[in-house]
Subunit: 388 residues, 2 copies
């Protein structure tokens, strides 16, 4: 399979975007990615869009040709991929294969979600469609409640503490305060997180990623073409994708995310690296407990030591493995279908050295990890400044 | 890019399947495809699922890992693709690229829709999400109404007649009466079609494909592996995918489906064939007018002569280019996300000579054509008994 590279990235300001519709958000991100790649829109041969639930949020399915149309890509193939919160990460993965197969040389991959047109309770119901409708959400389980169950069990098995969860929020808000496109650009303290309202015990509102509007897009091409467009291509070194049982009750241990373990091991193998080689990572901190478990399941630390890893500052910018310099889902915001693409935008900026006040110095290898629902889907991509 | 082949197919009975849920339908089709391929489920490396709107029909997004889970595919990568009525055709296209890239050797591709859990008016509203929500469905345009506009204009420009539309229904019902898995296994007459209730003038209810539950699945592998599993592999000779403006009002001429023209020309070129070389075709007859326009836009006849083509019996089994021997969407039924895969199931059976009473004698080259909404998406695949 031939190598592929990212040569352009773009994203909108994330937040409550009352000024823009779904299509407008995507056009904004797509145009920025084209500009960043120094490329005319006629050169793009296909579009891959990640979107979770525009059907429920704004009454629109079949978004791919709509977005292609509004981006003036003119009759090009346009694919929509849906994998809950991992939608645009999975779209990126399929786009990698499409370019690797030789079918296309240059494609645009992006994600978009317009969530604030519905009320918060409605949004919670839509989120719940990412879990098992028959055996989980029908009985009232919501995504925050599912992660609250996971957190409680992690507390019991490994002694993890609410304060450690709060530290994830503190770190990601601090990073987000340095990201002009983040939804939340303010800092929080452990005390403020722990005194914020409970959403589902032990998770406070400041343990949860927000409801967000936004879009992100990248331009992907075959590695041999990349230098025609940029002096700083970012290569895809490896990837892994895995699934897990949909319902939590079918898993042997809810404190281990099996799909994350499998997807990351595939990605490390394909890239020929080990966890310690990762210089910067964007992880799926939909809830603070998720980021702690991800440290463990990605092999950044021993199982059960995720709480200590955040406590000791190892994932701060400047730490051993900086995680979520963008602010993560927590502070950058989480427009569900766009988050996977936004992670890639951040890692590309980090590897190019263009991340401004939140730059991880000298980053050479970056990782994105995205998951859907309670990690029934996980996609991991590893990027590098140099080819495999 | 390396060649790929279909080595196993399966589908459920289409119809009102009160006995089964979404997941059960897919498991039934998937298991049958595995059995047909003489393959254990552990050999499948990834799952590609086409589904239009389970989020709206049954409150379930993120269906790919759910279906993988219930099929016991165990933690394998599972992708969901949504392109309205072309969902599983587009999933098949991406699966072809994934195998061609060398990422996977053997994958399952399928589609499923469970539509009868909502009322008919609700179903019509869900269908409408396949069009432009802001500029079409918001103002009350439904899919039947959109195709009614197209039909009226075709009448004016080319002199096509309601009787000719009815003949499409008559042919497809006749074929469907020979298909034990079809939703409607009864014949109709031109008189009966024309005296059936009007849905949107000039389209009668017997001009429209029905609301259907069902699933279909195929096993796809690299061509070099195919003979290990079967003596009758069916090779993918070529494909084409294109999009068009979402809203009808943005098209220069609503009687020509631009995406169909573009996708089919790409597919012919890749396969190295011409329209006259097609021995059997499964086309997207969501409405009878669609099949007539498809004859024209696929190059089976001159523009404007589609009405004459059905009238002269050229697309009957035994005619010049038999179309929809399965009964098509009209009589086989149209479980939106499954229809693209069901077309592939039929063409594979036809090329293997296993289509029973509806067999097209000596078929060597087959075509599937699937489209979403008003053909804002079109995917064409060409299959053959021999490699390219």
């Amino acid at each position: 399979m031939r190598d592929v590279a990212v040569i352009g990235v773009g994203m909108t300001k994330f937040g409550e975007r009352w000024d823009k519709q779904l299509r407008d958000l995507f056009v904004e991100a797509g145009n920025e990615a084209l500009k960043d790649a120094n490329m005319g829109r006629d050169e793009v041969q296909a579009l891959f869009v990640g979107n979770f639930s525009a059907g429920s949020f704004v009454g629109q399915e079949h978004v791919a040709p709509l977005l292609s149309d509004y981006l003036s890509l003119k009759s090009k193939p346009a694919f929509r991929v849906e994998s809950a919160c991992a939608s645009s990460a999975m779209a990126f993965n399929l786009a990698c294969m499409a370019v690797a197969s030789g079918t296309y040389d240059i494609v645009m991959v992006g994600g978009v979600e317009k969530m604030t047109d519905v009320s918060a309770p409605e949004a919670t119901s839509v989120y719940a469609k990412a879990m098992d409708a028959e055996w989980e959400s029908f009985f009232g389980l919501t995504l925050p409640a599912a992660f609250a169950l996971i957190a409680r069990r992690h507390f019991v098995q490994y002694g993890t503490k609410p304060e450690q969860l709060a530290m994830v929020s503190v770190k990601n808000h601090r990073n987000g305060s340095k990201n002009p496109l983040a939804q939340f650009q303010f800092e929080v303290t452990v005390e403020r997180v722990l005194s914020s309202p409970i959403v589902s015990d032990p998770l406070h509102v400041l343990d949860c990623s927000p409801v967000t509007d936004g879009a992100a897009a990248v331009i992907l091409c075959s590695a041999e073409l990349a230098r025609k467009y940029t002096d700083t291509p970012v290569y895809v070194l490896g990837f892994g994708v895995a699934s897990d049982s949909m319902a939590l009750h079918d898993r042997p241990d809810i404190t281990t995310l099996g799909a994350v373990v499998k997807a990351s091991r595939q990605a490390y193998r394909m890239a020929g690296i080990e966890p310690k080689d990762v210089d910067v990572a964007e992880l799926h901190d939909s809830f603070t407990i998720a980021e702690i478990i991800l440290y463990e399941d990605l092999g950044f630390c021993e199982k059960g030591k995720g709480g200590m890893m955040i406590q000791e500052g190892e994932t701060e910018i400047g730490g051993r493995i900086p995680v979520n310099p963008s602010g993560g889902l927590k502070a950058r915001g989480h427009p569900v279908g766009a988050s996977g693409a936004a992670q890639i935008v951040e890692i590309v900026k980090q590897l190019r050295g263009e991340a401004g006040r939140r730059q991880v110095p000298g980053a050479e290898i970056g990782m994105t990890q995205s998951m859907g629902g309670t990690a029934s889907t996980c996609a991991v991509h590893i990027f590098g400044r140099r080819k495999r």
